[in-house]
């Protein structure tokens, strides 16, 4: 795979509303591990250009859900519909080839390499057999600028010297560089302080504004409401609610996360369970 100069410029045009077709749709996804029913007929949509928050308490099935989407664990039942067509990912490679990048909490960055080296790891452009450093530096710079990552002094500094928020930014830029259409972020703010959390949340919104679909896994309600256009809530392996963020408030989300239902409704046409079918 080669990353050309155009990679940073040719982007999906921003999609402003959710009336368009979803980028990814989960239909009746069920996953069992032996006797444990991890997911029961999960179904929700991920539209392009928006941030979808996947909320739920520990053990609700958030991790299993993203690992299913990322191709790590194929579902036992149900299907994934990617850009209108049912797909079967036989491994993370398949999902990546389709345009799904997952940023796990460990970020998968090599501390001893610099920012540019990390962003291009595995698909460095070559010039007469040797690494084309100038090309890499230019596109890395452009990508970071487009994401408005400006706190980094030099893109030639090793990742070990970066703060948590900056590392997260590098991981996101890496996903953009790989032309990801869907970026899944697992607890992106879990290890961050207040100001860095705000930086990362702003980055997530900017990523979505470029037309990328973002699925953020989080159990931090402040983050969820700060960043999400849509919210999907899991409870003990079931999808108990999904809808626009404006249809929820923190108390109703807490209710859904802890008991699986809520008596409160904020907007009309509230987010009820059972949309999975």
């Amino acid at each position: 795979m080669s990353t050309s100069d155009s990679s940073a410029t040719e982007r999906v045009p921003p999609v402003s509303s959710s009336n368009g077709a979803p980028l990814l749709e989960l239909r009746g996804i069920t996953k069992r591990f032996g006797p444990v029913q991890a997911l029961t007929r999960i179904g929700f949509e991920i539209p392009p250009g928006q941030v979808t928050a996947l909320a739920g308490d520990n053990g609700a099935g958030k991790s299993v859900t993203i690992k299913t989407i990322a191709g790590l664990w194929p579902p036992d039942e149900g299907e994934l519909v990617w850009e209108g067509k049912p797909v079967h990912f036989h491994g993370p490679r398949d999902a990546e080839a389709a345009g799904i990048t997952t940023i796990y909490q460990d970020l998968a960055l090599a501390d001893n390499l610099d920012i540019v080296q990390n962003m291009f790891l595995g698909h460095e452009p070559l010039e007469r057999g040797f690494l084309d450093e100038a090309k890499m530096e230019l596109s890395a710079k452009q990508t970071l600028e487009e994401l408005s990552v400006r706190t980094i002094r030099s893109i030639r500094q090793p990742v070990a010297s970066l703060s948590g928020g900056q590392r997260q930014s590098v991981a996101v830029a890496k996903a953009v560089m790989a032309k990801a259409k869907l970026v899944i972020m697992d607890e992106p703010t879990a290890a961050l302080g207040v100001s860095q959390t705000r930086t990362v949340l702003a980055l997530i919104k900017r990523l979505a504004s470029q037309g990328v679909a973002v699925l953020v896994v989080s159990h931090n309600l402040n983050d969820v409401f700060a960043v999400a256009d849509r919210i999907v809530i899991l409870y003990l392996g079931n999808m108990v609610a999904q809808g626009r963020a404006s249809e929820f408030d923190p108390s109703s989300v807490v209710d859904y996360m802890t008991t699986g239902r809520s008596s409160r409704t904020v907007g009309n046409g509230a987010a009820g369970a059972g949309k999975a079918e």
Binding site: D106, A108, V227
Partner: protein, 451 residues
Amino acid sequence: MPDDEFSSPGVPSELQEPPLSTELAEDETAAPESDAELTAAAPEVLADSLGDYLNAQWRRIKSGESGALPVVAGLIVIIIFFQIERSKFLSALNLVNLFQQSAIYILLGAAEIFALILSEIDLSVGYVLGVGGFAIAELIAGPVNLPWWLGIICGIAITGAIGYLQGSIITRLHIPSFVVTLAGLLFFQGVVIELATIDKSAVGGVISVSPTSPVFKLVNDNISVAASWIILVVVVAIYAAFSIRRAAHRRARGLTAPPLSITLLQIGAAAVGGIVLVYVCSINRGLLTSLKGVPYVVPFVLLVLLGYSIFLGRTRLGRYMYAIGGNPEAARRAGINVQHVRRLAFVFSAATAGLAGLCYVSQLGSISTGVDGGTLTLYGVAAAVIGGASLFGGRGKPLHALLGGLVIAVVYNGLALMGISAAGQLIATAIVLLAAAAIDSLVRRRGSTGV
């Protein structure tokens, strides 16, 4: 961005307000988050002028990114010490001697660096050197009588195959490299003895190389003085043209490049180093007949190290070796065939040990079952670590092997001049190794607490 969807009650107001889009990022632009990130980048990247460059370099040293500085300083201190003790230490004869002796240590250090970068270790290099040396010596002598160059190629190929075998055992059976190469150290000592036993021409376990063979001449013969100077001028000119063009190329594309003054300074330093080297070698060091010129082994070793530097710094495979050493999981997720790269690292390590074997045979003019592979292995590890490679992976350059190998050769040579016994030499080398590791650890700890 549909900010109006953020109207949920109960959310802290600071998070509801629109500034989430751009201003947030900007309010941090003024001040970088810590001094650490300023110091971590290479000074060339940050500097616009010579003053800036020196400043950045100084900040880097203060923060623990001292690079090659401690080992260079240490080397100078040791050299001054020996010069005070024995005035002939810095004589042309002894310095050339020193360069010849250091070749083996430098190459063994370079071999070890390939393993260390991936946070592995190769304990077999000492006797892989032995196997390589025996193979070359036997192949170019009777009854095989291969041409010298084919003998060298075959010898290096054999050691490379040994590396592939060890690497395959490590990666396929998931046995730590420490164990596999320790077994290799024992096994190949046995192979060396067996080779000497089978070969009927090996009298008393010794195989000699004809003094007329280029294999012998590598260490023991010299490039003529005139040719040495011409080669030096050509090399410096190529280096100058290359680095000036590269800086101009980067500037033309809008990238940061070191200011011209720094580029010129680096070229000047390289030229001065080369001139000193060639000048020292050009002084007549013969006692009865005239003996002068740069030994072939000096450009040979430098060429190997340059090749490795280009390989590690400018090719995908080299980049992947560092990535695996830094974070194997990240490398795996980036689609790198981690086990394949790991195997190749052991091929490089063993083949480099084979090159060291070539220098060994050349220097002694023979090789015997008495080759002390155990000590040589440990000198290789010591050279890499003294030079600045990390035992924890991800950090190490061929330059480190050069510096570390020189330190070991200087200690060995200087103590021999002072008439200190082998016991004293071992003890002194041990102290130097510990001192180097201690300085490295202290400097780095200071750096890491600052982050």
